[in-house]
Amino acid sequence: MVKGLAVGAAAIGVGAGVMASGTITEQDQKEREMSGDEFDGYFKKNYRVMTESERQATIARFELKARERYSKAIHMSGSLAEAGVLFGYAFNLSRCNGSRKCVQACVEENNQDRATDMQYIRMIEMEKGTFDVEHGTADYDHVEVPDGKFFFGTQCHQCENPPCVKVCPVGATWKENDGIVVIDYDWCVGCRYCQAACPYFARRFNWQEPSIADEEVNPDQHILGNQVRSKGVMEKCTFCIQRSREGQNPACVEACPTGARIFGNLLDPESEIRNILANKKVFRFKEELGTEPKFWYFMD
């Protein structure tokens, strides 16, 4: 009991213990630096209102922290949204075979907690002849596609009018200029109001400290994307911001064996996604809610 209390108290009074130390050993010195770091981190601003230099300092600090935590070089990017880019996504219902290769690739790319098997993408298997997610199942476990079934993949729809952003009491989540809804993991207070507000079940909460083995950590990280989160904060799909902002496809698109997933720039008239919107009959999930998802479904 006493131990529990002490741990709680220590966690609240960050850095208080450092003041009490007597002789300074190398270990103390290191701890002192760490605590100072923690202290700065604790009182930092919301990422979106930071100046460029404050952002750089934050990114550097995170990179250092990640390097200390994992025995490999971590590269932390803070790349910004490019002008003239608005990301969009289309999902081909005719092609998806429910292999969940996308789910696996997403977990590996985005450093989700392995202990709780957290996943951003949810595949729902449904009967042909109806389109009712309530009668579908997300926990199918077969490899072959059964007759009379089709698959409906969902993830964050990166709404143009995102309810999660509207309800966040501390503005810890917002829509970037390229349309990606991101989270400042350090600013989130973990109230989970956004989780209640999301009509697409896209948001995930860290109910415990996430754990990923050293060798499984993806070292190419983005401060608003796949950097390893800590307990008590929200996370979600960011269209692999660490990849998409470098001109690559998100991991789920790369991994899809059937080419059911299409990703691109909605503002580029030559892009494949624009071609699909122009030439296929597309629809959006729960469009009647007015969330304006940038995630479309279509059939061949």
Binding site: V49, G171, V189, F201
Partner: protein, 412 residues
């Protein structure tokens, strides 16, 4: 200033003196609080995984209690309105206790929100100016404003009145009446805001209803006064404070009216959900009949609805309501029924099924129950301390040594 200090120390002295039984009670509350604190430390260390919540049902017992307690706090207005504004003398003795109920309920409500946070140490992000206050977009920021404001009002008004009585003065109504009027509107606002917090989510059809706000008010104004009747009844039975039967009867009348309106709204909701069930009725179907073989709340909610119905009928029949030995158990029943309906019965089904149609159930964990018990003990403790000092001042037993008390000390 010196009088103020003396007032506070005298009040505290009074609050922490009493019979052996009184100290046993305080000791019991303290041990409950410590146990809850220990459970919370465990949760703080290991994260919210120690609760029964999940990504599917992401709010549970904590937020249920929060919602219910905001209603209890709002109900204090039922005493405030007639006493200060309508000059109904019967209520004036009860009103300070009502406000003590409001303060304790608010403190508990705020604690319940805090223990539900993933990062309670980052809550300073909510402080306007210092953090990033997403007002007016987020209803949660509205709730922060109205709840803290209401807490302030309910501390300030009784403080001013008691402080004056302590000094042997009658406070000039002009100094506090504007705040009283404000607090009446404010009470309605705290509960409507809390209802809007849910009703503003189109992702959750179970909550996304225009009836939710009025229903919150009706159930609060039934449940809150029912609790206050019980507390006043307790004070009366043990001759701690002279409460007239007439006061209890008037309160019972308020409770009855609100309970009737609440039932009408419940019937209206049930009709809408079940006459032509759509996908938007799935949560109600889960709550009342179970869904895909999951029915954790079914028996509880039926019990609550039936008890609510019976209690309201009993209250409606005048000769029954006027007998205190019938009134008290009926109030307990009504309070319990509303607690279930508006607590777990409101919050949990909102998440079931999930927006993707999955049914994952929720059961509170032992840790959650322990933390909740700790918060309850804290609330009871706050109420005990506040009411003990207030009663002592109001009965004239406690006042500044240099003045004559307003009302002569009563024999108790």
């Amino acid at each position: 200033m010196r009088i103020l200090l003396r007032f506070i120390t005298d009040g505290l002295k009074e609050a922490f003196s009493g019979s052996r039984l009184y100290f046993c009670w305080l000791g019991l509350l303290l041990s409950g609080l410590l146990l809850g604190g220990y459970a919370y430390c465990h949760q703080f260390r290991y994260g919210l995984q120690v609760t029964g919540m999940s990504d599917h049902v992401s709010w549970g017992f904590y937020i249920s209690n929060f919602t219910f307690l905001v209603g209890v706090a709002a109900a204090a207005v039922m005493l405030v309105l007639p006493t200060y504004i309508l000059k109904d003398m019967d209520f004036s003795k009860a009103v300070l206790l009502g406000e003590a109920v409001a303060v304790s309920a608010l403190i508990m409500a705020l604690c319940f929100v805090t223990v539900d946070m993933g990062g309670p140490e980052r809550l300073w992000h909510l402080i306007p100016g210092l953090g990033y206050f997403n007002w007016p977009q987020s209803l949660l920021t509205w709730d922060v404003v109205v709840l803290n404001g209401y807490l302030g009002l309910n501390l300030l008004i009784p403080f001013w009145i008691l402080f004056n009585h302590y000094r042997g003065k009658k406070p000039n109504p002009k100094t506090y009446l504007p705040f009283v009027v404000l607090s009446v509107f404010w009470a309605v606002a705290i509960h409507m805001t809390t209802a809007f917090l849910y009703a503003g989510l189109p992702a959750r059809p179970f909550w996304n209803s225009s009836l939710l706000g009025p229903r919150f008010l009706a159930s609060a104004f039934a449940g809150g006064p029912a609790l206050i009747i019980l507390i006043l009844g307790f004070f009366r039975s043990f001759k701690i404070y002279d409460i007239k039967a007439d006061t209890l009867n008037k309160l019972a009348l308020i409770t009855t009216g609100a309970a009737q309106v609440n039932l009408i709204m419940l019937a209206s909701e049930l009709f809408k959900e079940f006459y032509w069930p759509t996908h938007h009725s799935s949560s109600a179907r889960y709550l009342f009949f179970g869904l895909d073989g999951h029915h954790a709340l079914t028996s509880t909610i039926w019990a609550a609805v039936i008890i609510n119905l019976v209690a309201t009928v009993v209250l409606t029949i005048n000769p029954l309501r006027k007998r205190l030995w019938i009134l008290f158990p009926t109030c307990i029943a009504l309070f319990g029924a509303i607690y279930v309906e508006k607590g777990l019965g409101l919050v949990v089904p909102g998440f079931i099924p999930s927006p993707l149609g999955e049914v994952v159930e929720y059961f509170p964990s032992t840790i959650e129950l322990m933390v909740a018990m700790g918060i309850l003990c804290l609330g009871l403790g706050v109420f005990t301390v506040l009411s003990k000092a207030a009663v002592a001042i109001e009965t004239g037993r406690l006042c500044h040594p240099d003045v004559k008390p307003l009302s002569p000390p009563q024999e108790t």
